[in-house]
Amino acid sequence: MKAEYANPFIRAASEVFAHETHLQMTRKGLELRKTPLPSRPVCIILGITGPIRGQVVYALDEDFAHTVARRMLPGKLPAEVKRLTNSAISEIANMITGKASIELAGEDKTIELTPPAVFTGERFHMDFLNIPTLSLSLISEAGSLEINIALTEGSS
């Protein structure tokens, strides 16, 4: 696992959060783990294929997930925001991964993303890759986000 994978995700997350939620995200920590298994109850899993491949697992608390959705949907009723919370955080994860992967692979390579999958609560003993993972934690005034980057270089 290359430590330089972290910076594109930090930049992408800051930009996407600023644009979509007006929250300022700053880096709080970075550590190496054995798998991308998340340590927060709401997680979003995305696969990447191409010159860089693997999994990126985003994780956050339920309250923060609602806050993100509320901020992405100004003027919508609380019930609607609640219904769209999973969709909102999936799309945030999709945008961050899209932006970061351009930087990682270079403009002239093609990377494909799988549609994000959201899981909450107990359903965590599932298919996480067993590859060394960079675990990033980012913090804002409204909550924090964990990004577990389990990527390797390889031909597709």
């Binding site: 930009e15 996407v16 644009h19 979509e20 959705a69 992405m72 949907l73 919508k76 219904r83 769209l84 969709s87 909102a88 999936s90 799309e91 999709n94 945008m95 991964t97 899209g98 932006k99 992967s101 351009i102 692979a105 403009e107 002239d108 390579k109 093609t110 990377i111 494909e112 993303l113 799988t114 549609p115």
Partner: protein, 122 residues
């Protein structure tokens, strides 16, 4: 004057709602699809004047949908709205026949401009 009609294709409900809010005062959003398979039958059913098309979607992705659509409707007007904004992907979509490519996250004005441009006579 009749409003031009739009079909919104994106797997994220939050994005479909946002695109609808941006387009609706100026265009008539006649349908929403959440994957490329649903989109094709909806396109046939409502024959919109244009579509906004996401790329990363389950079942049938946006690029495959674009290829299929343009085979049967070579004049279909498609604006891609996607988080996968690499040069290669943009180039491929435009070469296939998409009219514009908006990268997420986007500003509402960018989407509105792209849609208006489809129908300007300049």
């Amino acid at each position: 004057m009749r409003l031009k009609t739009a079909l919104i294709i994106d797997d994220a409900a939050v994005m479909r709602m946002r695109l609808r809010d941006i387009l609706e005062p100026h265009f008539d959003v006649v349908g929403e699809a959440e994957d490329g398979e649903q989109a094709l039958s909806l396109y046939e059913a409502c024959r919109p004047d244009f579509v906004t098309l996401d790329i990363t979607m389950p079942k049938v992705d946006g690029i495959t949908f674009l290829q299929n659509l343009l085979k049967s409707h070579p004049d279909a007007k498609v604006i891609i709205v996607s988080a996968v904004g690499q040069k290669q992907t943009v180039f491929k979509a435009l070469t296939l026949g998409a009219r514009d490519f908006v990268v997420k996250p986007f500003d509402p004005e960018r989407v509105k401009t792209a849609a208006n441009r489809l129908f300007s006579k300049a």
